[in-house]
């Protein structure tokens, strides 16, 4: 992976982004943060509907139709801007323990979001009549906040990746 990162760093597209770095990288990062706001906002509205604390005048299906596409769109935007950031500085991202932990959680949450949205579309009656009344479902909704928060933490800690050496000595070469 490190060899790949070094090779990618030396490649023309990567050098192009860095040569314009004065404005390109902060711009991509800002768009990435706007994507985070969109994803957090829409995931929040859906999860809070599951707990029943927000938007109780709407069914879960209505809530999912309102915010689901925004969540999916935001995740695609985050993937696109994230790929550009990896391309710009491959070793910073690909050699980072935080980066791979973050990607694992992102893959998990994307899978959960996809499965949940599909289930709400296919079984909306069952969600309204039984599933939403189960306390376990509310706890699961609250747990998603913890995981989204962990993803944001890990994303920020990519820049401070040496910290992992203290927790797990030797993990950072």
């Amino acid at each position: 992976m490190h060899n790949f990162a070094t090779w990618l760093y030396a490649s023309a597209p990567s050098a192009l982004i860095r040569s314009q770095e004065v404005w390109i990288i902060p711009t991509i990062q800002s768009i990435h943060i706007i994507g985070i706001a969109t994803a957090v906002g829409s995931a929040f509205m859906i999860a809070m509907r599951v707990t029943g604390w927000l938007g109780a005048d709407q069914t879960l299906l209505q809530t999912q139709r309102r915010y689901g596409p925004w969540l999916a769109g935001a995740l695609w935007l985050l993937l696109a801007t994230g790929l550009l950031l990896v391309l710009a500085e491959p070793p910073r991202e690909l050699d980072a323990v935080s980066f791979w932990m973050k990607m694992t959680l992102v893959a998990l949450m994307a899978l959960i979001a996809f499965t949940f949205q599909r289930s709400v579309r296919l079984h909306d009656q069952r969600w309204e009549t039984t599933l939403l009344r189960q306390p376990g479902v509310k706890w699961a909704a609250l747990l998603t906040f913890v995981v989204w928060g962990a993803i944001i933490f890990l994303g920020r800690f990519i820049a401070y990746d040496q910290i992992w050496n203290r927790v797990l000595p030797g993990i950072k070469g």
């Binding site: 990288i25 902060p26 990062q29 309102r66 820049a159």
Partner: protein, 199 residues
């Protein structure tokens, strides 16, 4: 009025010193700042799109704004607290940073825009509870969306202009390239005795 002694006092405070001497507190504050701004900008967008009639337009405008804005304010408290705490760690540098000052002006503008909305369009909300807001409400919503995006950009530029230049001058090898780090500059201008939080 010379505020430099006040800024210096903030930097010398126990909280600021503790954060500068820690390798994980500063990045943790940054992460909390991002979580808070995500929730804040996300929920503001929900209300702005409702005002514009672009989304949730069949729902009561009053209900949408009432129940969502409570969380916006909670998130704002988180963002303001984490932001101010980060400011104290390197107050004199931030206070003289153009991007930081622009960000403050944008924040004041966003606050005035919100106040203006509450004094005008929001007063007649019961008339347009099931419709898009009147033109002045729509204008406030568009201005709000633009201002918050600008605040995020300005905030990101603060990192590049207070910290990035130093990191770039040091010209680290590829495996440690980190010139875009938001706060490493803030950290690296801490007293030499303090370990730099970011590489």
């Amino acid at each position: 009025m010379n505020i430099t002694p006040w800024l210096k006092a903030l930097e010398d405070s126990g909280v600021a010193t503790t954060i500068r001497n820690s390798s994980y507190l500063f990045p943790s504050l940054e992460a909390v700042h991002v979580i808070g701004l995500g929730l804040m900008v996300g929920t503001i967008t929900v209300v702005d799109l409702r005002l514009l009639g672009l989304a949730s337009w069949s729902r009561s405008a009053e209900r949408v704004s009432d129940e969502v804005l409570k969380w916006t304010w909670a998130a704002f408290a988180l963002v303001a607290l984490s932001g101010f705490t980060m400011f104290t760690t390197n107050a004199r540098v931030y206070a003289h940073n153009t991007a930081f000052l622009i960000k403050l002006v944008l924040l004041v503008a966003a606050g005035l825009n919100m106040a203006l909305f509450h004094l005008t369009a929001a007063r007649s909300m019961h008339h347009w509870d099931r419709k898009a807001a009147p033109p002045i409400g729509k204008a406030a919503a568009i201005l709000s969306l633009l201002l918050w995006v600008a605040v995020v950009f300005a905030g990101r530029v603060v990192g590049f202009t207070t910290t990035g230049q130093q990191a770039k001058e040091q010209a680290p090898p590829p495996s440690t390239t980190n010139f875009d780090d938001f706060l490493s500059g803030g950290a690296s201008s801490a007293p030499p005795a303090a370990p730099a939080p970011a590489k």
